[in-house]
């Protein structure tokens, strides 16, 4: 864990929680359940996010994903009873009526993306890469290392970009059109390739691929870990069971907007996903 002070959760408990929350968020198209999962995950993230971690990249990613998903649906889907405006018909794909129903459905899609992103965010923002590797089952050890390495490369890529841009600006470079960015992007790509070669050599020097991964200390499970895992699994099983039982849990706003159907038990299922937030008051 990146914040050693105070009691933590076992990495495997985090992994189970994340998978369960993503399952719930993607198993239903109902915006109410998706809002609940997103809020539960947000509370968990705010409770556990180390103070030194920057929240802005995650916020930006959520905003871009949400806007894109909603915008694509609004512009591409022209069905619905309530027409907000009409785009000229000669416009390819986007031409036609823009409806309130497509806007609502786009919003529901965005909520699904936001909820899923917030559910997996603790794996990169709360856990250290080696924790993620530890959380994986033994058979997925290599996959875990690949995931952890790629997560490291993304942030490394961002850091390199900022440092190269600053260095170029100190040398008098100013952005003038798309072509001028070559002077930043080429060094960034070259540095990234060099970094990945260095990483591969370092991993090989430390015995990567030579045998099973060993660890100095083992994480002991507490009552909280068990409670988090059981409650997360219960929420996922509840939603899967509801889907199999044929409970109305989706929402379809076409052709006329109507309130989504909500089952109180499924609301409770979403709420228990917020349990890890209460580990830290």
């Amino acid at each position: 864990m990146s914040e050693p002070d105070g009691p933590g959760l076992a990495p495997r408990a985090w992994l189970v929680w994340s998978i369960a929350a993503v399952t719930v968020a993607l198993l239903t198209e109902n915006p109410v359940y998706r809002v609940l999962v997103a809020l539960a995950a947000l509370n968990v993230l705010l409770a556990w996010l180390p103070r030194e971690r920057n929240r802005k990249p995650l916020g930006l990613a959520l905003l871009v994903a949400a806007i894109l998903a909603a915008l694509i649906n609004v512009l591409a889907s022209h069905t619905g009873a309530d027409v907000l405006l009409r785009l000229p018909a000669w416009l390819p794909l986007v031409g036609g009526p823009i409806t309130l129903e497509s806007l609502a459905f786009g919003g529901a899609l965005s909520l699904g993306l936001v909820a899923a992103l917030l559910a997996v965010a603790p794996l990169s923002l709360v856990l250290e890469p080696h924790d993620v590797v530890d959380a994986m089952p033994a058979s997925l050890e290599r996959t875990g290392i690949a995931v952890a390495t790629s997560m490291n490369l993304v942030s490394g890529f961002g850091r390199t970009f900022v440092s190269v841009r600053d260095a170029q600006q100190m040398r008098g470079w100013r952005p003038r059109g798309l072509r001028s960015w070559n002077e930043v992007l080429v060094p960034v790509v070259l540095t990234a390739i060099e970094d990945s070669v260095l990483l591969a050599e370092a991993m090989e020097a430390r015995g990567f691929g030579a045998g099973r991964r060993t660890s100095y200390s083992r994480n002991s499970w507490t009552l909280w870990d068990v409670a988090v895992v059981v409650s997360a699994l219960a929420a996922a099983v509840l939603f899967v069971g509801a889907r199999l039982a044929g409970v109305a849990m989706d929402w379809y706003p076409y052709p006329t907007l109507a309130l989504p159907p909500i089952h109180p038990l499924l609301v409770v299922g979403c709420l228990v996903l917020a349990l890890p937030a209460f580990r830290r008051g």
């Binding site: 239903t28 198209e29 109902n30 109410v32 809002v35 609940l36 809020l39 539960a40 947000l42 509370n43 705010l46 409770a47 996010l49 103070r51 069905t79 619905g80 009873a81 309530d82 027409v83 499970w221 009552l223 068990v226 409670a227 059981v230 409650s231 699994l233 219960a234 099983v237 509840l238 069971g241 509801a242 889907r243 039982a245 044929g246 409970v247 109305a248 849990m249 989706d250 929402w251 379809y252 076409y254 052709p255 006329t256 109507a258 309130l259 989504p260 159907p261 909500i262 089952h263 109180p264 038990l265 609301v267 409770v268 299922g269 979403c270 709420l271 917020a274 937030a277």
Partner: protein, 255 residues
Amino acid sequence: MTRARALALGLAALTLGALASLARVAPVVPACAAAGAHHAAVVVQHGDGSVASRCVAFDASDVTGEQLLTQSGIAWSGQTFGGFGDAVCALDGEPARYLDCPGKDSYWAVFVSSGGGSWRLSNVGISSLTLRDGDAEGFRYVPSVGNPIAPTSPAGVCRAPVSAAPSADASSRVTAPSPPGASPPLSSPSTLRTSAGQIAVAAATAGIARTAGSGTPPPSGPDGGLLAASVAVGALAGLAVLRLMARRRQRRSAA
């Protein structure tokens, strides 16, 4: 770890209990109920304003909207939309043919009336609707643009249930009758669901008003699920705001 196991077992038992309560009521409606203990009305209002209504009897405590429509004997075909349920594509011969469901120009809007209350636009497909004694299921063929207008009032459709099952012809239709039991010709592929059974029409009346009950009345009573969800969203959002404020305070004090 004993406490942990007990907690795990307790939560697992709770989950199983919750799943059991989620399970849908089994379709226990008899295939040919001459007269059941309970009755629910089906009102179908066509695009030209003509109305067909049926009173359907059933023995179970509740039935799905799909079961009720099938038992009414009115020919219909639909399409399944995942967890939303089945949408009605063609009903009582309207439209005669279709390619899109719901239709691009007009579609069948589904309404529900609970316990003699006013019509409420359904937010799920007919297979996900649950109707009980005294309820009514309404359909109106409405244009795709604009808010759907509710069908004519179901009052009087189940006025006097009789014990013997009359033929489907006893049900009423004001104008342009379509042959009962005739499935509309469809041009859509096999994903469509068709029902043309005339099974359990227990009693039908001729109490039809062409215009009565038009207009979309306000929904009747608050939804328990919606109320629970509102409270949950409010609580989680409030907690998130409090946490954000606490983090900001911590940052300021650290700086």
